[in-house]
Symmetry: C2
Subunit: 522 residues, 2 copies
Amino acid sequence: MIAGSILIGAAEDSAAESFAAVDPATGEAMAPKFAAADPGHVDRACVLADAAFASFSETAPGERAAFLEAIADGIAAIGDALIERAMAESGLPRARLEGERGRTIGQLRMFAAFVRAGDWLHATIDPAMPDRAPLPRPDLRRRHVALGPVAVFGASNFPLAFSVAGGDTASAFAAGCPVVVKGHPAHPGTGELVARAIRAAVASCGLHEGVFSYLPGPSNALGAALVADPRIRAVGFTGSRSGGLALMRIAAARAEPIPVYAEMSSINPVILFPAALQNRADTLGEAFAQSLTMGAGQFCTNPGLLVAIGGPDFDRFVAAAGAALAGIAPATMLTPAIHASFESGVAALEGHQGTQLAARGADGPGACAALFVTDAATFGGDAALGHEVFGASSIIVRCRDIDEVASVVAGLEGQLTATLQLDADDEVLAARLLPLIERKVGRILANGWPTGVEVCHAMVHGGPYPATSDGRSTSVGTLAIERFLRPVSYQNLPESLLPAALKPANPWHIARRVDGVRIAGD
Amino acid sequence: MIAGSILIGAAEDSAAESFAAVDPATGEAMAPKFAAADPGHVDRACVLADAAFASFSETAPGERAAFLEAIADGIAAIGDALIERAMAESGLPRARLEGERGRTIGQLRMFAAFVRAGDWLHATIDPAMPDRAPLPRPDLRRRHVALGPVAVFGASNFPLAFSVAGGDTASAFAAGCPVVVKGHPAHPGTGELVARAIRAAVASCGLHEGVFSYLPGPSNALGAALVADPRIRAVGFTGSRSGGLALMRIAAARAEPIPVYAEMSSINPVILFPAALQNRADTLGEAFAQSLTMGAGQFCTNPGLLVAIGGPDFDRFVAAAGAALAGIAPATMLTPAIHASFESGVAALEGHQGTQLAARGADGPGACAALFVTDAATFGGDAALGHEVFGASSIIVRCRDIDEVASVVAGLEGQLTATLQLDADDEVLAARLLPLIERKVGRILANGWPTGVEVCHAMVHGGPYPATSDGRSTSVGTLAIERFLRPVSYQNLPESLLPAALKPANPWHIARRVDGVRIAGD
């Protein structure tokens, strides 16, 4: 059901202001009207979230896992209505959204299994040593606990996998944190369908209603009020750099500053090493064009920068990429505003004195891909060329030699990913660059393309500032749970007061580290 | 040797300005004069630290552990000269400083063993699934890497264990980060002796000279320049709230913000539950007086607040504490400035309309302990009463009932510790308060005193803001290493380019998580 409501715990609410979703393919407003949440709604949602914290954060692993699975089941049960609404609101094609739904459900189930296993509790026991000299050692036990209520900002480009029940929400729930979602105004119907599924799971699992609230709305003031609310203890955000920086400033200015996990921007450099370019310039060019234009280029990991040594192989790559791009139809972008921003970014590159337009996608209604060429001196001399143009726009930087490639890499801001296209003969060169690359990124990949982020234990979808606000974290994969946890230590507590994870009998049967040695749970 | 030099890598440097240590017992300046480092020294030290990063961060666990052990050996080898200089500079007694030296050496050895074991690398492997449908899974491997050069600010109150080679330095080295220490001006001779031991270990282990530099100096501008330096990637600090907040602001205003781990202030509430108070008011009062005055009260974990229900047992506790305090001699504080600040804090409490002086320590030269009594309404109505007075000053808050105790706890800022004095009959009441307490602190202890911090795996010496700048961390114990690490993921990298921790042959023989299952190293 899409009623256009604000969902605060178990209650539905309306608002003085309203807004509508826009079909990005037609520019037409869609029914129904949605209530636009305001700071009063924020206050009520946060009061409830705070009230839910004590009980939700102490749910047993099995109970919390069952909640995550109930959400996954609930999203699956919405059926095709979810896909159709998401298609209409985002302009993304069916196959992409069905895949994204699979990922969303899959990551909820992954966190359920991860929560059950219990390693995230980091249960650690250093038993008392009453006879130690000169001083006895007390009994010390440590576990990780949830930070508190978390504010999650839905992303425009993943209306399912990084929105209401996306990776941030799943990992915050997994950690034991109540969640207040600020719904993205580009897909409010999709958001409400998913929010209702979460709310139903809260009820069916018998949890406190404050575990989840959903505040849709278009205003920046709504998000600002949410991050400023004293009951909120952490923030998850995926979006623009300006948006992320604004939330970081609000969080740092609070009476009690809180962590902000903002994934903000990345141009995801691809380094084409000489032997790979010589052996595979044509296929690399074609494959690049596919990666660049996937989902209209609207991925955080879109390859917005290529770096290679100039010469005939470089020219072949550009020609092959250009030929492939010319055959790729224009695409509807997520919102008219995103499309307008893409067009102005491309126009700025077209008007830039130091860049040449190398190729554009096929003409027609929608956004049309663009590839520009420049040289290392020009790229290094203008920081604006290193800023993300969200969408299918990329720059290839022509370098004189591998040292100039290294200097381009050294000059980059923090990135989510770096990609190495290399053959066996390139490995010595790549080894020279690797330490430099590693300081810039969260994920290094070889002979693939950065788009397509596997949801697994070993994934890092993060990276040094300004790719994210906190390069010590990931927003994809099981490690994402760590963002919402903190350690607490218990010294000489009577057994009745010890949390279950640390009781001598180990009632949760979790692995624990005793005197530094890991003991399996059962 | 104490030459009064600035130590930048393998070089010694002088400066235009100089300063001297002051014997806090006499107020006399001590020889020699010390060069006061300035921003030019910061620049050179940070350039060297950055140059050392690539090689030092990739040292094998055994190599890095040997370095930590060489530092420990070097500090031990200084012998009594270190203790004597530290006594003269800090006013702390010999036994305390010998114990602190043992802790300093012990935590270096603990980190050496921890680094060798390799769990801190979090090596995680999700092998490729080439046949997975609809899309194959790539090979994904993750490890944690060092953040980069770290700035460490020595603390006044632990001239060994939280200064030049203290917990911050040890954990940053353990993580693979070069360290630039801003030496505390209160103990420059002690600092230089230890800095030379670190430098000798860098040389004897064949490491890059930039792994360590030592910049002594009294100016805030020195510390500000260090935190602002673009090559510094994280900061470790123990000191005042104003100092920590200033560093946080500088770090947040950088072009690239960096994490600051500042341990700033805590009043470490002690809750005296009714049965414990009834059964043990006298012994509790005496034990409290000992904890309050230990080391002249100059511990981060000093018990600056007691909370209990009023009545005859409460009065007996205050009387016993007062009697014990009256017999405790005044003590020399670390510096004249710290002493002056203590006196003005105590004077403010004496002049406060809502507090009554309950007891003072014995009179004489030096700082004299103080205990004040107030009620919950007064305490809750004036935030200043909840601020730390560094030294042996404490307030006991008289409550009407357990609900008022709870409301006092609920109104507290973040703290390093909370202590529960409780007997078996108190456990039901304590269980009610525990969730509230847990949200406020990093360590909860029962029937002990918060002073005395065990260095072990399960310790958390941290806590929610403003006890520290980052409640997700600890500055004591092996978990402290996590502050200086970040995850990096490697996708489909050829074997020759994989870091040793992730190579198929597991050359470091470390435990790794493969497809979610932990596999022991050997």
